[in-house]
């Protein structure tokens, strides 16, 4: 048989490609449930790392079930908000059937269209609330995303975790690999007065007095610009919610300044008290 004829070549390559595609399709379908479970546990462990429950390295050593249990044990509530910051739905948090709003790519499009359903995950840690929100955007080679943890009144970032699909190892990939980069976010705030540019990643070093800026990574300009844009976009989408939280807590704080912060101080009030104490210490220092 003439293996060099055109017809043979075309038929042969077609068969090879179809067979290879079929094998891959079967393998992908068979492995999908297991992969999805892994991705879900990974997403949750990124939130837990951002909220400061454990380091990502330690979480990676736990099995999927343990990660899900840790989430259910520590999460208080999880819900969806719309563009105005109003609650529009609840997410299940029981260990058996945890619901996540983890299609961030779709939500990123919805934000642009003005009709997002954004998730807020509220954890309880050491008696106070931590609000965790996702961010998503374009890096240099592929998507980048992450989770930002705020304090109860959403006025201060208490932790962050970032991940990426295919940023350059050793350069852009440092948004995930370098602990110092995400540590910088702790204690920073979202600049409510500039909704379009509420957070900055500054090349050459962030000014010390700017509470809404962190240092960029050398050699990763495009990734840092992408992350900066992602933060601005998502913070803007969450802005109504964050401001409501900040406003509501502000009232509590005033209340605590008075004399209603007595014996039956619970939940939000306690947090207000803590905040007050913190400010007080700050003045002393």
């Amino acid at each position: 048989m003439n293996t060099n004829s055109n017809v043979y070549t075309i038929v042969y390559t077609t068969i090879i490609v179809v067979v290879a595609a079929a094998i891959l399709a079967i393998a992908a379908m068979a492995l999908k449930p297991k992969q999805d479970a892994n991705i879900k546990a990974e997403t949750i462990s990124q939130m837990l790392a951002a909220a400061g429950f454990s380091s990502k390295e330690d979480l990676a050593k736990l099995g999927n079930d343990q990660v899900l249990k840790m989430y259910s044990d520590n999460v208080k509530t999880a819900f969806l908000i719309d563009a105005k910051g109003d609650k529009i739905g609840e997410l299940e948090t029981e260990a058996g059937n945890i619901e996540l709003q983890d299609n961030l790519k779709q939500e990123n499009k919805n934000i642009a269209a003005g009709d997002p359903q954004l998730p807020v995950y509220v954890f309880t840690k050491d008696g106070s609330e931590i609000n965790v929100i996702p961010i998503y955007g374009a890096g240099l080679w592929g998507p980048i995303w992450g989770y930002i943890a705020f304090n109860a009144s959403c006025t201060e970032i208490v932790g962050a975790y970032f991940d990426h699909e295919s940023e350059t190892p050793g350069l852009g990939a440092k948004i995930k690999d370098e602990a110092w980069f995400r540590e910088q976010f702790k204690g920073q705030t979202v600049n409510f007065s500039k909704p379009d540019d509420s957070f900055n990643i500054v090349k050459g070093g962030a000014p010390k007095d700017d509470k809404s800026a962190v240092d960029a990574i050398t050699g990763a300009t495009m990734t840092c610009n992408g992350l900066d844009a992602a933060l601005d976009t998502w913070f803007k989408a969450y802005m109504p919610f964050l401001q409501k939280k900040a406003g509501a807590e502000g009232v509590d704080e005033d209340c605590c300044g008075g004399d209603c912060c007595g014996g039956d101080c619970e939940g939000g009030d306690c947090e207000g008290g803590h905040q007050h104490e913190h400010n007080h210490n700050h003045q002393e220092g």
Partner: protein
């Protein structure tokens, strides 16, 4: 085992090692050798990909149209690599994330295509399978040796367990890719000192 098969199996591991003698697959050997665990999984993945790809191409060798043989080989190699990647994603997700792009880049590892072109196209399935496995093993062995020193000196641990005392200050230079190149150079040096016939005049 007859002499030919033995030679097929042992030659790629020592005398014709793909990394130290043929100088193939350098890029990934610099990238994935920071930790021993990653290197072991990478070595295993490459062994499986080279072995199975050589076997499949060898089975098809008489039917492959010569004009499109590289493309057919690429389809086979790419399929193997994606299968390995999918399995890792399902059963070793943390390691798959750590190895990131390098699993996918096994497709472009010169060892795989090199052995298919040089051996599997002209030999029977069983010797081809052994040749593929042996070349993967030769690559993997160097990877593991380099990773052993880099994790030991760079982090003071082996497979994540602390080996050197807490007082040891990890050498950050060892973690950076240039040190992997220097270590590779040392391995080449030792090998050529022992096997004198490898030395160029």
């Amino acid at each position: 085992m007859n002499e030919d098969l033995k030679k097929t199996l042992l030659n790629p591991i020592f005398k014709g090692n793909p990394i130290t003698v043929l100088v193939l697959g350098i890029c990934s050997s610099l990238a994935v050798t920071v930790q021993l665990k990653g290197a072991l999984v990478m070595a295993l993945s490459v062994i499986i990909v080279t072995g199975l790809s050589s076997l499949v191409v060898s089975l098809l060798r008489n039917s492959i149209p010569n004009r499109v043989r590289i493309i057919v080989q690429l389809v086979v190699v790419a399929m193997m690599v994606i299968l390995v990647d999918q399995v890792l994603k399902a059963y070793a997700y943390a390691i798959d994330k750590q190895l990131s792009v390098y699993i996918g880049l096994i497709i472009t590892n010169c060892i795989v295509m090199g052995r298919i072109e040089a051996f599997a196209l002209g030999n029977k399935p069983i010797p081809s399978l052994l040749d593929g496995l042996a070349n993967g093993a030769g690559y993997g062995m160097i990877l593991v040796i380099v990773a052993f020193f880099r994790e030991l000196l760079g982090s003071g641990t082996l497979l994540g367990f602390r080996v050197l005392p807490e007082s040891y200050v990890p050498n950050n230079l060892v973690i950076l890719p240039p040190m992997a190149l220097i270590l590779l150079g040392c391995i080449v040096w030792v090998q050529r000192a022992v096997q004198k016939d490898l030395q160029e005049k």
